[in-house]
Subunit: 210 residues, 2 copies
């Protein structure tokens, strides 16, 4: 495994994938496990990940994602979709999960549950979706770090029609809406962007010391 | 360095820090470097990181962050602050940085620049801030992964008064607004949450295969 700084220097947003090289089940499981372990606000599960394997579906998605070839050519395609029905029931499910996992009483969690329910009630639907999306982006950061460490190429993508993605993947009926996409696999030898110098602001331009 | 999955299992949101243990300059630099290398949409730099060292400032911030002790007790405090003045000038600065880094012409980047400028113009101020905040959360995911790999304890935090943080840190005059906070350091021996089982949904509850 690469050192994390070397890994982050090694990674780039792959523009072209080798369509003949597929990730192993073990590699895919590592990527998914990293998302599963990613932190989120209160620990509340606010998104799901659609792992799109069907090639016909991936072709349809590509057509509403500016025809970006990564959608069909990468070994694997993950769509982060946030829950649109976050409310008391989501918190109750989560509290039950904590009770099972930690063998604690409902009573010991009642204040915590009330706090999360209060937070969810205080947010408009739009703000709730945005808040959930931020948690998905945090997990995306964990996923991209994990991929780089494992020398798996990846591409985070925002350039797609969310409504069309929701439609094609049947997300509305599942109480979900797509928020961000990530492909993973092996870069093509012909991807010229792989050799381009990484462009980043200097530490001095990033950090303000107070 | 830990394996990434072991690292993600090891990490938790530290509730209490050992106030006597400080991160080394090298450790802090690794954390900051991981943020600097984190990807963002188009590669555009849309946030800065306030590294708050002054203890009096940290006491003031704690008072407007539900008195959470991590704000003052952790070795280091990072505040992600997104740019509120994203527009043509930001894109021009970025294009100049690409030209310098890759030794390419302005002409070769003109379509790319126009596309980013168009995107920024198409977003309302609120949407622009939200979009920038998502990129900051992605970087937060990279930071948390890096900390875990280096066995550095961390706490991502949303529970703070953003307006008060902006005021105390003088962010408005810098064209910035606070979006999310992360502390880093060493856990206290007395942090009972360290030994609690991690609560996460199962893979079956996270992933939908299509």
């Amino acid at each position: 495994m690469l050192n994390i700084i070397n890994a982050l220097n090694w990674r780039y947003a792959a523009n072209a994938y080798d369509t003949n090289k597929k990730l192993s089940d073990e590699q895919v499981n590592t990527l998914i496990e990293s998302i599963r372990l990613a932190p989120s606000s209160y620990g509340l599960p606010v998104y799901k990940v659609i792992h799109v394997k069907d090639i016909e579906t991936r072709k349809k998605l590509k057509a509403v994602a500016w025809d970006q070839p990564q959608i069909t050519d990468a070994s694997d395609l993950f769509v982060f979709a946030v829950k649109t029905d976050l409310g008391d029931a989501s918190v109750d499910d989560y509290v039950n999960l904590i009770m099972e996992t930690r063998n604690v009483s409902a009573e010991s969690l009642s204040k915590f549950a009330a706090m999360i329910k209060g937070t969810l009630k205080s947010l408009s639907e739009d703000h709730k979706t945005t808040w959930a999306a931020k948690q998905a982006y945090l997990a995306l950061g964990v996923l991209l770090s994990t991929a780089a460490l494992e020398e798996i190429d990846s591409t985070p993508m925002e350039g797609f029609d969310k409504k069309q993605f929701d439609e094609i993947l049947g997300l509305k009926d599942l109480g979900l809406t797509s928020t961000v996409v990530c492909t993973a696999g092996y870069r093509s030898e012909n991807d010229s962007s792989a050799s381009m110098a990484k462009v980043r602001v200097s530490k001095e331009n990033l950090v303000i010391e107070k």
